[in-house]
């Protein structure tokens, strides 16, 4: 039955991979574009970090009191270069800061120390030079605010300590200590739920995006594969060859899957590099081992995820082929298949940001009826070990796949593949008016 299948697959892969549009759009661009974006972000981040390390402030101390001196010393201990501008007036000081490339100016007004000592609110003027809207600018200015806030907390602790010398000021200010724990599969784990949620998100966030990209690539390829045969006038010859029509269909599906997987891998590699560019500037992980607390995928989870993904891929391709049969050329096929991506984006957004089963019932049913929701659910279930969800999804997607494959095979096996045309006559008429 499948005699000649390998020959067709090889031809399909060669034709698709050698097509400059596919090679460039699906393989080369993600491999170049994402790393380039990552490089740009990494460079900006590094520049921002460097500027953090070289904050220099002008200080105009009009108070000369002990608290003002304390503040200046505090900033100096944090490696901030202090330039004293006490002998200048405010206008001169501002001009000087701007011309000397300093980060900003702190003006400590008279009576600053007295007010704090007397329990009154003291004012502190902070001027930051606005030179542009870069990341380095905003990080420097927020760093200064954070440092002054720390100094303020230090003053509060000192003040409370003076009032209540017998007690720990930190306990007075923060009397309750929360010990947040999580319950996972009936066991309590000494990790706050938001930490677990963050970890799960970071590990499972990429999966729906990857699945969506793979399915969109595959659908576009399958549609192109059939439509280009029509456009290049090769379909009729192909259909008169001594090879089973179903074999031609399977060959086209397999060729598209192979190239789509390569495209998705290129996308994921490029995307990982892009995400990796944030690693240097993001806070490090909490060191929680998901496998140790039973939240890492097991081999069975991976197997179920693979099965779910494969069936979805097959159904997406069969759907794309069935629809592209009605197009006369590649552009027409892509236009017909394009709207199907809604069926992928919709489930992706919901599975990424919410629990589908917690949604209003009609919306939940709509999402579950979309076959491409299920590999995304299976990806999430892989972490929680919810095998039943994955299995039910696989059964549903399999039934859908068989139905769509049957339709595709029927269309391929009859003269419909040559004669079927979608007519947009009404649309054209309306448009031309």
């Amino acid at each position: 039955m499948f005699k000649g299948l390998f020959n067709i697959i090889v031809k399909e892969v060669k034709e698709l991979v050698r097509d400059p549009k596919i090679l460039l759009g699906m393989i080369i661009v993600p491999l170049i574009m994402f790393p380039l974006m990552g490089f740009a972000i990494q460079t900006s981040m590094e520049a921002a970090e460097e500027s953090m390390g070289s904050i220099s402030m002008a200080v105009m101390d009009l108070d000369k009191g002990p608290v003002a001196e304390n503040l200046t010393n505090f900033l100096a201990t944090l490696n901030i270069r202090i330039v004293e501008v006490d002998d200048l007036n405010l206008t001169e000081a501002v001009n000087y800061v701007e011309q000397s490339n300093l980060t900003g100016l702190i003006v400590i007004p008279p009576s600053f120390s007295d007010n704090i000592t007397d329990g009154l609110k003291a004012e502190l003027d902070v001027y930051t030079v606005f030179r542009g809207a870069g990341i380095a600018e905003s990080t420097s200015s927020s760093a200064i605010s954070a440092l002054l806030k720390t100094f303020e907390e230090y003053l509060v602790v000192q003040k409370v300590g003076e009032k209540f010398p017998e007690e720990d000021p930190k306990t007075i200010l923060d009397p309750i200590e929360l010990a947040e724990k999580s319950i996972i599969k009936g066991k309590d784990v000494n990790i706050p739920p938001e930490v677990l949620f963050g970890l799960m998100m970071s590990q499972s966030l990429g999966m729906p995006i990857g699945i969506m990209m793979l399915l969109i690539f595959a659908m576009q390829l399958a549609a192109t594969s059939v439509a280009s045969e029509k456009e290049e006038k090769t379909l009729e010859t192909l259909l008169t060859l001594p090879v089973n029509r179903f074999t031609i269909l399977v060959g086209k599906l397999t060729g598209s899957i192979i190239v789509a997987v390569v495209g998705a891998v290129a996308y994921i590699v490029g995307f990982s590099y892009y995400m990796g560019s944030f690693a240097g500037v993001m806070p490090a992980g909490t060191g929680v081992d998901l496998a140790a607390i039973g939240l890492a995928p097991t081999p069975i989870s991976y197997l179920l995820l693979g099965a779910s993904l494969f069936m979805s891929l097959l159904s997406a391709l069969a759907l794309a082929i069935s629809i592209s049969i009605f197009a006369e050329d590649v552009r027409g096929a892509q236009a017909l298949v394009g709207p199907l991506s809604i069926l992928l984006i919709f489930p992706m957004i919901f599975t990424m940001f919410t629990d589908i089963y917690a949604l209003p019932f009609p919306l939940m049913i709509v999402l579950l009826a979309i076959p491409f929701t299920h590999p995304m659910l299976a990806a999430r279930a892989a972490f929680t070990g919810d095998y039943l969800t994955a299995i039910i999804g696989i059964v549903y997607v399999s039934i859908f796949t068989i139905a769509v494959l049957y339709i595709a095979a029927r269309l391929f096996g009859t003269e419909k593949i040559l004669t079927a045309r979608l007519k947009f006559r009404r649309f054209r008429l309306r448009k031309s008016k």
Binding site: N7, L241, P242
Partner: protein, 245 residues
């Protein structure tokens, strides 16, 4: 169906919506002959060839190729024929060699056969070294020569050629006609072809059928038809048959 019959078409009808493309078409092709269908645009030539090649289903009537019914034994028929559509293309991202190898691999028994058959096609097409280049670099004439060679290289029992010199300049047309004539005579392949070009038909065909509005209006050898309708050439004979003059 007699032993000497290659194709037998009986009362063939094909309806597309409200259009009756073929209207009780009947004719027979003998083994080893070149049979031509001549007629104006929309006469039903391509539809008849497509049904014979198992691409379209008849609305009614029967088509048998070497005794095999095109509906019930479509896969048997496909093993015996090659089909060259009028505006056929080749896979543009494959080289000429890869294209021919792809086509032959469905029937070749081993790699040697593939190589030998491609060499035959290289000679038929006259493309030789250019077979290493991708099809997208070929001119229209080169592409057509490649496709004609593809249709003949496997020595099919029946080769169905729809307008084999369509859109070609004089020199390429002469070359393609030469290929068909020489190769068919040498290999004993039966050919069913359609053409607008009466000169081509006179030069190539042993027998022709004049087809108009889905029906055969006259049939015979080019010489017989010219005599029967007292015409200098087939073009004139055809005009007389359909009452144009």
């Amino acid at each position: 169906m007699s032993m000497s019959t290659a194709v037998e078409i009986n009362e063939l009808v094909k309806v597309f919506g409200e259009v009756r493309a073929l209207d009780s078409l009947s004719f027979q092709i003998r083994k080893g002959e070149i049979y031509g269908l001549i007629g104006p645009n929309g006469a039903g030539k391509t539809t008849a060839l497509r049904i014979t090649s198992t691409l379209l289903l008849p609305t009614s009537g029967t088509v048998k190729v070497f005794g095999h019914d095109v509906i019930d034994e479509a896969s048997e028929v496909r093993r015996l024929i090659t089909y060259l559509p009028e505006e056929a293309g080749a896979y543009k991202n494959l080289s000429g060699y890869e294209y021919l190898a792809f086509m032959i691999k469905f029937t070749a028994k081993n790699k040697e056969t593939v190589k030998e058959t491609v060499e035959v096609a290289a000679k038929i097409s006259g493309l030789e070294e250019r077979l290493k280049d991708k099809v997208k670099t070929y001119s229209k004439g080169m592409k057509r020569r490649l496709l004609v060679a593809r249709a003949l290289m496997t020595k099919p029992k029946l080769s169905v050629l729809d307008e084999p010199t369509s859109g070609l300049d004089v020199l390429h047309s002469v070359h393609v006609r030469g290929i068909i004539k020489q190769y068919v005579e040498k290999q004993g392949v039966t050919v069913l072809l359609s053409s607008h070009n009466m000169l081509e038909v006179e030069h190539l065909c042993d027998r022709v059928a004049l087809i108009n509005k889905g029906k055969i209006v006259a049939e015979g050898s080019p010489a017989e038809l010219k005599t029967r309708y007292d015409s200098a050439n087939l073009e004139e004979a055809f005009a007389k048959v359909v009452g144009f003059v």
